[in-house]
């Protein structure tokens, strides 16, 4: 029994250490965004020589949203001789194919790719579509996105920098008012982009390519082997592939694009579980290459590890809660004693737990949110919800690793109605 208690106590100390490290990271990012020097993105460059681009839009049963994004892309300001729009109809069973064919008949630069025989999923679809074009830059949008007129130019211009392998814009939910979930996601997105991504860009760490409202160099990605169809988060995979091989990902805070946030907790649970599973798959695949990479300095490697393990923090915390409850009921909560320990725990409880909320609060403040900042305490529900499904996604990835099973893509359900078309 003593051995079990010792193991439980050791685990609890480990969990606290992990949380403290992520807390410090949250504070550094937030303070940097609030008071540090901000790096500018490249959107101010005006250049008449733009690279050729191909806009890829993975679609699986997207009849609700397909027309909206195609209409937005048709009106985008980009030289027509330098743009291909390739919607990837990936095994759709609704009217997606008919809609795409209708647009292709009207616009020569819309060239749909219909996939019905090969393996379904975003990575496989992107791999096929990349081989259909000779464009230098690939820009990717999910089907529910509504890019502005200048978004393509603002993304493409960053590739003037010879070191940029990929660029990521900012995602903003457009259906924020719907319910508690969409309002929480709005806050989360603010924290994730306005503070977290921008701070990583400022600090020359590892901003993350997010798989939509972003772009990458086609020849580089093909050279690096394209996307692994077994990995559910091709964006995270690409981020690490690029950094490990000496390329950079840059973040464009002012390249903003509306998305549709999940309006249903069940849909959200599946989305976050897939993210966690995919991210953890990437963790297993890139942990060693990241440490060994010659192209990254120590700071970048540390940040890379933090980012790589970010979804692992949830199961660690989740287990930590159960361990602490077990120890409490066993009457074994006296782990470490002394005044310093008391002060540490007191200050962690005061400030440490507050860190993610501080980050989101500052992001909302920078965005000019006046009333929505009051929703911050309600994020606690989202926090525990995420923790549960991230932990399940983490377990999925471990099972994937052990059993070598194939991971299949789960498409996020759309909620757009006629009244809310972009």
């Amino acid at each position: 029994m003593e051995l079990v208690i010792l193991i439980l106590k050791s685990y609890l100390i480990f969990a606290v250490c992990v949380l403290v490290m992520y807390t410090i990271r949250h504070f550094i990012f937030t303070l940097n965004r609030l008071t540090g020097e901000q790096m500018i993105y490249y959107q101010d460059i005006v250049d008449s020589e733009l690279p050729s681009i191909a806009v890829l839009i993975p679609m699986h049963n997207e009849e609700l949203v397909a027309k909206n994004i195609l209409d937005r892309l048709i009106s985008a300001e980009y030289p027509l001789d330098k743009i291909d729009i390739i919607p990837i109809n990936d095994h759709s069973e609704d009217r997606t194919k008919e809609i795409l064919d209708e647009y292709a008949a009207r616009y020569r630069h819309i060239k749909p790719l219909h996939r019905s025989s090969k393996r379904r999923g975003k990575p496989a679809g992107l791999n096929d579509a990349m081989r259909l074009t000779k464009a230098k830059v690939i820009i990717v949008f999910d089907a529910d996105y509504l890019p502005a007129k200048g978004t393509l130019r603002d993304i493409a211009i960053s590739f003037k920098d010879p070191e940029v392998g990929a660029v990521m814009g900012r995602v903003i939910p457009e259906n924020t008012a719907k319910n508690l979930l969409t309002r929480c996601l709005d806050l989360e997105r603010s924290g994730g982009y306005q503070v977290d991504q921008q701070a990583r860009y400022n600090l020359r760490l590892l901003p993350q390519y997010g798989g939509t409202v972003g772009g990458f160099r086609r020849d580089v990605v093909l050279y690096l082997g394209g996307f692994d169809p077994n990995i559910l988060t091709e964006d995270t995979e690409l981020t690490y592939k690029l950094f490990i091989n000496g390329w950079k990902v840059v973040y464009a805070n002012r390249v903003e694009c509306y998305e549709e946030a999940p309006e249903d907790w069940d849909v959200r649970s599946k989305q976050i579980r897939r993210w966690s599973r995919g991210h953890t798959q990437v963790m297993f695949k890139f942990f060693l290459p990241l440490i060994k990479s010659k192209h990254l300095n120590m700071r970048e490697k540390i940040d890379g590890l933090f980012l790589l393990f970010v979804y692992s923090a949830s199961p660690i915390l989740f287990t930590g809660i159960f361990v602490s409850l077990t120890l409490f009921f066993l009457g074994e909560m006296k782990i470490l004693s002394g005044l310093l320990m008391f002060l540490f725990i007191a200050s962690f409880n005061t400030f440490g737990n507050f860190a993610p909320f501080f980050q989101i609060g500052i992001a909302v403040f920078i965005d000019g949110g006046v009333e929505k900042i009051r929703l911050l305490p309600l994020l606690i529900f989202n926090f525990f919800f995420n923790m549960v499904f991230m932990s399940l996604g983490f377990l999925d990835a471990i099972i994937d690793l052990i059993t070598k099973r194939k991971a299949y893509w789960y498409k996020t359900v759309r909620f757009r109605t006629e009244a809310r078309k972009g």
């Binding site: 250049d47 300001e77 965005d367 972009g422």
Partner: protein
Amino acid sequence: MITFLVFVVFFILLLIPFTLGIIELIKRRDAAPLFIDKNYTKDPRFFGKSFKLIMENAIGHDDLKPGFKTVKLSKDETVEIAPYKKIYAGEEGNHVSYIIGDFVSTGKVRFKKEIYVKGDTAIGSENMFRAIACMGNVFISEKTNIIRWVDAEGNIDVCRECNLGISISCGGQLRISKHCRFKRLYGLPIITTYDIPLIIYNLHKITEKAEDYDMEPGGDKETGGTADMAWATNDKDLDRSRQINEITDTAWVINEKNSVIPPFTQIAKDFIIKRNLRVKRNCIFMGDIKTYGDLIIEKDVKIFGNVFSERNIEIGHDTVISGDVFSQGTVNIRERVKIGNSGKIKSVIGKKGIMLGRDVKIYGYVMTEGSGKIV
């Protein structure tokens, strides 16, 4: 009973932090998504073009009789419509103006509202203006202070020691004299010069002056027409497959932080370096350059690609760059540097500041969040 009360108090205390959030959730006072302008595109002449559109929509289709008229701009404004206008020293303009012909001001005039001029514009010395959109050419005399912006369809000449506000842009040539301060410049090309002689404030003069612009004697004598031709024939090289080098044996490594590329070196690929770099004179780069540290380019260097630095960039005199220049620090451009080419638009972006020497020629756009100055 006490236990029950304790529980009640406990739950009330538990609910308190959520109260304001629940109220916001129900009342939805701040539930709209962050605003994104879906029609936004980057246009260096945005101010002038949008103001022109507003004015033409508000007035342009009406019968243009001289006088005052109240129209809806961003709010109700009194607009003065005039066939032409000349303002004398000490006068103030308090109305938005719609000038059908030319506009001239003498010294020390203050104009608090925007001016839309369909002819040419000549501004006297030590004036203060808010904003001018002009369909012709613009001449700005010395020590004039622009609060917001100036845009012209034609050329703009700016005399010394002017403060050029947020933006000065034109569809033609933008010539700026020493000691002017700026944030954004746009011209095809932008030329810095020692000074521009004052013109006589005469309506006839300014309408004739398009032909009188003092083009550089002998053209581009440092690079000459041959430089343009060389760039045109090298377009194939610009389309090379991009290969990234850390540091090559062409660089002399001085210490951990500094590297030097020796004179007359020719580098065919993109060049990326995580430290300070000094490029010695007469080097030729066929690709792009990127440095993490300071980048010092000495005289007579030719770069066919873009130049990026995470810190400061200094460009030595008579250097020619065909691509964009982008710095997260300052950009200091010395005499007779040429950036871009006729018929193409390129940019010089220096986050913290930009200093332009004399006889610099930039085809396109210059922007800084810090302070820009012609030295």
